[in-house]
Amino acid sequence: MVELSIGQEVEMEYGGKAQVLGVIGSGGQGIVYLVRYNGMKWALKWYDIDKMKNPKAFRKNIQNNISDGPPSNKFLWPKYLTKEKEDGTFGYLMELKPESFDSFVDILNTYKLSVDPLTGRSTKTPVRFTSLYAMVTAVINIVNAFRQLHRAGKSYQDLNDGGFFINMDTGAVLVCDCDNIAPDGSNFGIGGKPGYMAPEVVRGVAKPNVQTDKYSLAVVLFKLLFRGDPMEGEKVVKDVCLTESSELKHYGQNAVFIYDPDDASNRPVRGIHDNVIKFWRIYPDYVKDAFIRSFTLGISDPNKRIIENEWQKIFIRLRSEIIQCTCGRTNFTSMFKMVDFKTYKCPQCGTIFETLKFSNRKNRMPLYVGSVFYDCEIDPDSEDFQTVAGMLVENKLKPGVLGFKNMSDKTWRAKMPDGDFYEIPPGKGFPIWQGLIIDFGEVTASL
């Protein structure tokens, strides 16, 4: 391919020039450059059109995506195309990834490398989620981004660990590499990354589409939570050398989930797959069941794959089951001792946790200072899983007295110890007590 040089100017489709400032990275389809355009810095993806089957159709598709716009602000979407050069090469501009986001590759590695340009020596900086909330929120954000994309009638096609950036403090997600996104049913030549591709794509009998995206999404979620490959267990490791034929076998023709309840031939191997072995026992059954379904029934029958909305519900529930104990133990209720149907106990220090029952779901939310629920959990019409609606706090004037603070923009009603309901406008709070009932409108909650 013809690479761009630093200082070179590239003509943009609708006038103006982008000047190349440096190289950001390179991938299978081309190179990403840092450029300046209209006084701002952008990322320019410059294609190696020799590797494309039909560059004209590929360009047209990006053009369509630009005019449709991104499904939401979670996408680093193509913004402007460059002019086509005489030889047909082109690229597009997108916004730069903010500094506060880390790549999914670095997250899986648990560190990032920075290389000193003078000596070539590299140093490692750890990359970790700063809280369990942030991690589960990131999962919800990823699922939600693909839900939005699929609702727009498009598929991502090339879902893999190079496609995301995550803020490790907040769980905010940015989906990048949006240039292969195409209307469901179309494909402009990308097959995907092995290990993430649906088995039918690996085998050559299907092209990427919304259904294969769902498989890849399950792989991404599995890797983020369990930090391992869902198909790499004993059966695969026995091959020692992963040749092209063994990949076709283990990821296509005869893919077996490492925790397939009916097929124990591919269990994770201690010493190699320690992350998966450790994390598999931590997560509650409803999470594990969803992965089991995705990677057993979902292998051969794309219609059995978990839909995004279902994943979203699962992980909103999981987030509401986090307990942060004062002794430092932070985990899901599945890793706390259940005393009775409404009480948990910390196995480390013995602290007891009461729970709150919401009228719209079976599971109960554990209560501790700082525990929160979100808009979508108290309003069936809300999709907002990011805005905290209520938080358990300690009364500033009466130490030791705990209550909920209404952080939403709606007025709730709460039953007080005198037996009456009082209106709780936004910003106000009320104590928790054994007979507490909160009326959010359509949803109620009780202790």
């Binding site: 009998v205 050398c241 990949e247 010493g271 992350n275 104990c325 300690e394 030791g400 928790i432």
Partner: protein, 308 residues
């Protein structure tokens, strides 16, 4: 939800609560003493009973305490001719380009693969730069000097003995087939044929990605083709500029292809067979090397064989 209760005054209910209600409230708070203790930062009550479930192994159940994902490993073998004829510009160029190359391919394995490097030099003596393959992130090139004859057959034997699960390819996890990159400027001084036949029996070699670079006009492309098994993966550098460019192209391309699983199905619309995918990586490497060569002009006109 009971609807009997009429709307009560709005505002902070605690301000307007009757005395007894406020008391009841405090009593309730006391019943949630653990929560309260938590709020005050007091030590929580000691556990009454020991946890009876082995599930709660709280030394090691933090969902955030992940280590890196288990990776596949890839060893890139560089087989480098350090015979006397390499002295001067050839070994100089080679040292420089290798020094620059290592940091460039550091990230090639991404989250999937640990890439390691092993360098075997052959002159009169056959020598490994380090006693075992070194992770690319930690690898530092030590500059080579040229001297002696071209004992390539001896190098093939040494390579074959080390390309084994008991030696250099001892990763407990999965490995990709190694990349083997041969660079030479002459014809072997020893009997390489028998050694090469032995090497060809090694399974790692069989599945490995092989490429060769002939340096200057003395290097024999047919011999190199015998080594790689295909014409496409043999290239020839006649000038210093070409040498540097070609080493980079081959090393980067083979590291990229070698360190990743392959999308086998990009161009097909039918059920793939094992037969079809066999050696797919080696074929792709050949294709990409050839594509890159056509884009490579001979900007540097001074031949490697002149001006010594």
């Amino acid at each position: 939800m009971s609807k009997d209760n009429k709307n009560k005054p709005t505002g902070n209910p605690a301000d307007k609560l009757p005395e007894d209600a406020a008391k009841a409230m405090e009593a309730t708070a006391a019943s949630l003493q653990n929560l309260a203790a938590a709020a005050e930062g007091k030590a929580a009550p000691a556990p009454v009973e020991e946890p009876d479930d082995a599930l709660f192994d709280f030394d090691d159940d933090d969902p955030l305490s992940a280590t890196g994902v288990s990776k596949k490993s890839l060893v890139i073998f560089f087989l480098i001719d350090t015979s006397r004829s390499m002295v001067g510009k050839k070994i100089g160029e080679l040292n420089t380009v290798m020094e620059e190359l290592i940091p460039e391919i550091r990230r090639v394995g991404e989250a999937d693969t640990d890439v390691k490097i092993a360098v075997l030099t052959f002159g009169t003596q056959v020598r490994w730069m380090y006693s075992e393959p070194i992770l690319i992130e930690d690898f530092e090139w030590s500059r080579l000097r040229a001297d002696g004859v071209t004992n390539m057959g001896e190098a093939f034997r040494e390579l074959s003995s080390r390309m084994s699960r008991n030696s250099f390819l001892n990763s407990p996890s999965l490995s990709f087939a190694p990349v083997i990159f041969l660079m030479t400027d002459g014809y072997p001084s020893d009997d390489y044929k028998e050694a090469l036949e032995e090497l060809k029996q090694n399974s790692w070699y069989k599945f490995g990605l092989k490429a060769a670079l002939g340096i200057g006009s003395e290097a024999n492309d047919e011999m190199l083709e015998e080594f790689t098994g295909s014409k496409d993966t043999v290239v020839h550098a006649y000038s210093g500029g070409q040498l540097a460019a070609m080493i980079k192209i081959i090393a980067v391309t083979s590291a990229q292809i070698g360190s990743k699983s392959m999308t086998l199905s990009d161009d097909v619309n039918h059920e793939l067979s094992e037969e079809e995918v066999r050696s797919a990586k080696q074929k792709l490497l050949g294709q990409q090397i050839q594509d890159s060569m056509t884009n490579l002009g001979d900007a540097d006109a001074i031949s490697l064989d002149t001006g010594w």
